[in-house]
């Protein structure tokens, strides 16, 4: 290519594109001109500008080029020169193909349906995949944005501490800005109807670093960190809750009882990426309080977002952060000895996991499509064989192999087009179904739509299927010696190549079916495994409600206790409610933890920081409501709150870990060690799954609320009937205690569990559907092949029977054919299963990714399906009277 020399040319693809846009006779001269000008521009403006110019030239030339070609085509068609004939010929082919297909409506509808289902499923899932995963984060140059998290003995990833963040900002050499955030729920108490919204504090560096300015007003300043009396609204909060008031700047908003002045409104669609809750959007931004940055280095609560500088990559930034953390580990061994940092691209951190899982489901859909293609290819091939005499006559009348191949390809193209159109319709319907199945934990679902990209995907897929299942039969037909078809009267044996190809199609379908069936069985087993877990608590008849006693009125622990006491009392009075309690962190909702010093076990070292314990605070009849059994000692009493003898309840997992062979009652431990603040074990309760349905219980303690580390939490109430019926009464009871503290998140505990399982259920349902579809398609494929085999051998089978072959012999002959295909398919499929284990590992739970049971089930299911599909034609074969069979010519 002429445009290349040592400094690099405009790029082959662009040269080709430009050449495409220029009429034939001038192509060489035009490319020469462009090349000459490119070089001149490169000398004058530099490489980049010159390449950009060339690209622009190529793209802008396409319009005139296309218009010119279209005009030329029309002119040539009018004058009917050779090129026009080609077009006419194709049109004629398409007309013949359409007529042929219309004559066999059953076949046509069946094929279009198979392809349509495949294309539709794949397209609908692609729509989901694109919105949830492929879309970049909606911030300028978002590929430069990273999340910086800390790693420690517990693994990855935890937030940073304030002092660590300040040191990062001072010492880093990789970023164009860093920002610390701390998302939380807050109460907007000045509204007519108080509401709880998701908000975050951000350092003043956040908005400039993200490259977004407020749509109205100003961003945060360093001074705001001191005073802390301002707030910036999200566009949603401003437009929907505050009615888009144009004079909102300067007005006062009461947040958790504190009056904040609104100084800005962020633009529509903007949000600070939050590593913790990918499906929640921040409604409100507040300045990061200065004193949080100066608090102790051992307290971690702040995720950090940063923008890579032009010179750095995720890898160099990672090395940079490791260097800083190594320095800090030396300077502050007590808090930082085992700590390091991890840098993630924001998109990967937020959507990587869900993207990979969705990608897997999309791949499953694509497998189904591939199976459908295989089926159609097989059908086409069979038809090509059955039509051999027709095609042979065409050949005898002068049609070239090329003509016959083209005819078959035209049919495939028409079928693919029909499949594509049907696929788009089905994708529209399927997307509605998918939306109703989507778990609420799935991020960015509001962007799911069948837009241009999804439609292009559908049409691309349809075109690809035309190629996949259209070209092979066409090529084979073209290669065949057509004249022999006439001599054989259309019932000759199939060319060995063609027969083998059909077998390969079917075996591949069975193999793909096995991969899907195996995946489906694994996921279903994982799901039942997770469902069957002992979670450690009751879900039926338990209502939960979030309360966040916050604001100036609730600064003292006494005030918060009084508030909760009152709420618990009033809810207990609601008819139907039996017991009421409170917990700072519900089971399955994660938590916060720390390492403890155990009395009598020697001081902690940087290598051994002591057992890691989850911290929660419980009140009232929490254990009774949740059905968590008391195994030893007693539950919490008011006396446990007394400062110098704090009593705590621990779970059995902590006893097993810390005092396996001792009586834990009366044992003491502490989170701090200089001096220790002892907590005394007064009781032991059963384990609950604190983090997720999948994660086994870990050591956990329940402290008295007043000594607790968190003021927000959930009130839990147990009742005889359906929790949904008392929701309004419970809400009223809570509001009657303090109208400025809006309760929220009123849900049954069973609903919470379902929500946690929703994602798994979603994947399992889809894979199950696809596996079912794959089995059906594979069965259809085998049935078609064996039937075809029987039809073609009617004469041979008739002769065999006339010569005395028994019925069993004939059935055996036909079945053998089906079984051979199945065996080959299963062998191929086992290889596929083996290859798919690494991707499946992320989704399975409680079973290995290669579960023998799943494999055996998959194989048996496929074998059964295959056998059933072969038996029908086999039985039909023996029912044919030999005389008829012999006469069939």
């Amino acid at each position: 290519m002429g445009g290349r020399d040592e400094r690099g040319g405009p790029g082959k693809a662009w040269v080709w594109l430009l050449g495409l846009a220029v009429p034939d006779p001038y192509r060489d001269a035009a490319l020469g001109d462009a090349d000459e000008e490119f070089r001149a521009r490169r000398d004058r403006d530099g490489d980049r500008a010159a390449r950009a110019w060339y690209r622009r030239q190529a793209i802008r030339s396409l319009g005139p080029g296309l218009a010119h070609s279209a005009r030329a085509l029309v002119e040539r068609r009018r004058s009917m020169d050779s090129r026009g004939e080609v077009v006419t010929m194709w049109m004629q082919d398409l007309r013949i193909a359409a007529r042929t297909l219309a004559r066999r409506p059953g076949f046509t509808v069946m094929v279009a349906l198979m392809l349509g289902l495949g294309v539709g499923a794949t397209t609908a899932l692609f729509g989901v995949f694109r919105a949830v995963f492929l879309e970049p984060v909606a911030l300028p140059d978002s590929d430069e944005l990273v999340v910086v998290m800390q790693t420690a003995s517990f693994g990855c990833c935890g937030p940073s501490s304030g002092p660590d963040y300040l040191d990062w900002v001072e010492r880093e050499r990789s970023f164009d800005g860093m920002a610390a955030i701390s998302p939380r729920f807050v109460n907007l108490t000045s509204l007519e109807e108080p509401r709880r919204v998701y908000a975050t504090v951000v350092t003043p560096s956040a908005f400039p670093m993200l490259g977004v300015e407020p749509r109205m007003g100003r961003a945060f300043t360093e001074e705001d960190m001191e005073a802390g009396d301002v707030a910036i609204l999200s566009h949603t909060l401003w437009s929907s809750v505050l009615g888009g008031d144009p004079d909102v700047l300067g007005s006062t908003l009461e947040v958790d009882g504190n009056a904040l002045t609104v100084v800005g409104v962020m633009p529509e669609g903007f949000d600070v990426p939050s590593p913790w809750s990918v499906n929640l959007r921040h409604q409100l931004y507040m300045p990061f309080p200065r004193e949080w940055l100066d608090t102790n280095r051992g307290s971690h609560g702040f995720p950090v977002v940063a923008r890579l500088s032009d010179e750095s990559t995720v890898e160099t930034a990672q090395a940079d952060m490791e260097r800083i953390m190594a320095e800090l580990a030396v300077e502050y061994p007590r808090t930082n000895a085992d700590r390091s940092a991890r840098v993630f691209q924001v998109h990967e951190y937020l959507y990587g996991d869900v993207g990979r899982q969705l990608g897997l489901i999309l791949a499953a859909a694509a497998l189904v499509l591939l199976i459908a293609c295989g089926n159609v290819a097989g059908l086409q091939l069979a038809r090509a064989t059955a039509r051999e005499s027709e095609l042979s006559v065409r050949a005898a009348l002068g049609a070239s192999r090329w003509t016959v191949g083209r005819l078959l390809f035209s049919e495939s193209a028409l079928l693919a087009a029909a499949g594509g159109v049907l696929g788009v319709i089905l994708a529209f319907l399927g997307l509605g179904l998918l939306r109703s199945l989507l778990p609420s934990t799935m991020p960015r679902t509001d962007g799911i739509a069948l837009d241009g990209a999804a439609l292009a995907f559908a049409l691309g897929t349809a075109a690809l299927t035309a190629v996949v299942f259209g070209i092979a039969p066409a090529l084979l037909a073209a290669r065949r010696d057509l004249a022999s078809g006439v001599r054989e009267g259309g019932y000759g044996t199939l060319a060995p190549g063609k027969e083998r190809l059909r077998d390969v199609f079917i075996a591949t379908q069975i193999a793909l079916g096995l991969v899907l069936a195996n995946g489906a069985v694994l996921l279903v087993r994982s799901y039942t495994e997770v469902r069957g877990q002992e979670y450690g608590f009751h879900t039926e008849g338990v209502l939960t409600m979030a309360v966040t006693p916050a604001g100036s009125r609730y600064e003292s622990a006494e005030a918060r206790e009084r508030y909760l006491d009152e709420i618990q009392r009033r809810i207990a009075e609601v008819p139907g409610v039996e017991e009421v309690g409170f917990i700072t962190r519900l089971p399955l909702e994660g938590g916060s933890n720390g390492n403890v010093l155990v009395e009598g076990r020697g001081p902690r070292t940087s290598a051994d920081q002591g057992p890691l314990v989850e911290v929660t605070s419980a009140r009232g009849d929490y254990f009774e409501v949740m059905g968590i059994p008391l195994l030893r000692g007693r539950t919490l009493l008011p006396v446990d709150s007394v400062a110098d003898a704090i009593g705590v309840v621990v779970n059995q997992a902590m006893v097993d870990e810390v005092w396996p062979d001792e009586d834990p009652i009366g044992k003491r431990f502490s989170f701090s060690d200089d001096p220790p603040a002892w907590l005394t074990v007064v009781g032991v309760v059963g384990n609950v799954r604190q983090w997720s349905p999948e994660r086994p219980p870990v050591a956990q303690l329940y402290a008295p609320y007043r000594r607790g580390w968190s003021s927000a939490g959930h009130v839990v109430a147990r009742m005889a009937g359906d929790p949904a019926e008392v929701v309004p009464a419970v809400r009223r009871a809570a509001i009657s205690v303090d109208p400025t503290q809006p309760p929220s998140d009123l849900r049954g505990m069973d609903e919470r569990l379902e929500a946690r399982l929703a994602q798994r259920r979603f994947y399992t349902t889809l894979i199950g559907l696809f596996a079912g579809g794959a089995l059906l398609l594979a069965a259809a494929g085998i049935y078609g092949t064996v039937t075809f085999f029987v039809t073609r051998r009617v004469r041979e089978l008739g002769i065999r029977m006339a010569l005395g072959a028994g019925r069993t012999g004939i059935v055996g002959l036909v079945l053998r054919r089906g079984i051979r295909l199945v065996v080959w398919g299963l062998i191929l499929g086992l290889a596929g299963v083996w290859a798919s284990t690494s991707v499946l590992e992320t989704l399975v739970y409680g079973v290995g990714a290669t579960d023998p049971l799943a494999l055996v089930f998959g194989c048996l299911a496929l074998a059964a399906v295959a056998l059933a599909a072969s038996t029908l034609p086999a039985l039909r074969a023996v029912r044919v009277p030999p005389v008829l069979a012999l006469r069939s010519e």
């Binding site: 220029v22 001038y26 035009a30 462009a34 030239q57 802008r60």
Partner: protein, 99 residues
């Protein structure tokens, strides 16, 4: 005659002996300030040549063009006449009109 056809014909006339594709494009771009693509220039040249209004001859290939020869264009007599007719028609139509 289309407006762009006029521009191309006039550019060739202005460039005299130097009228090959790159110069034609550059001339139109420099004088009108329009960003003109090679696709537009050459499809127009193709049309003009088919009408017999322009003709071309091949130059020698040079290394700075990747070894590709230039095509030098000239306006044929029919082209000049068409251009004159167009101008005359336009002038008549424009007379006394202020849009």
């Amino acid at each position: 005659m289309g407006e762009f056809e006029q521009l191309v014909l006039l550019a060739i006339l202005r460039l005299e002996d130097e009228a090959y594709g790159m110069e034609v494009r550059a001339e139109i771009e420099a004088r009108t300030g329009r960003d003109v693509s090679y696709g537009a220039v050459y499809t127009t040249l193709d049309r003009l040549e088919r009408k017999g209004w322009v003709a071309h001859e091949l130059g020698a290939p040079t290394p700075e063009r990747g070894g590709r020869a230039k095509k030098y264009f000239r306006v044929e007599r029919a082209g000049r006449e068409a251009l004159r007719d167009t101008r005359r028609a336009l002038e008549i139509m424009w007379d006394g009109v202020t849009p």
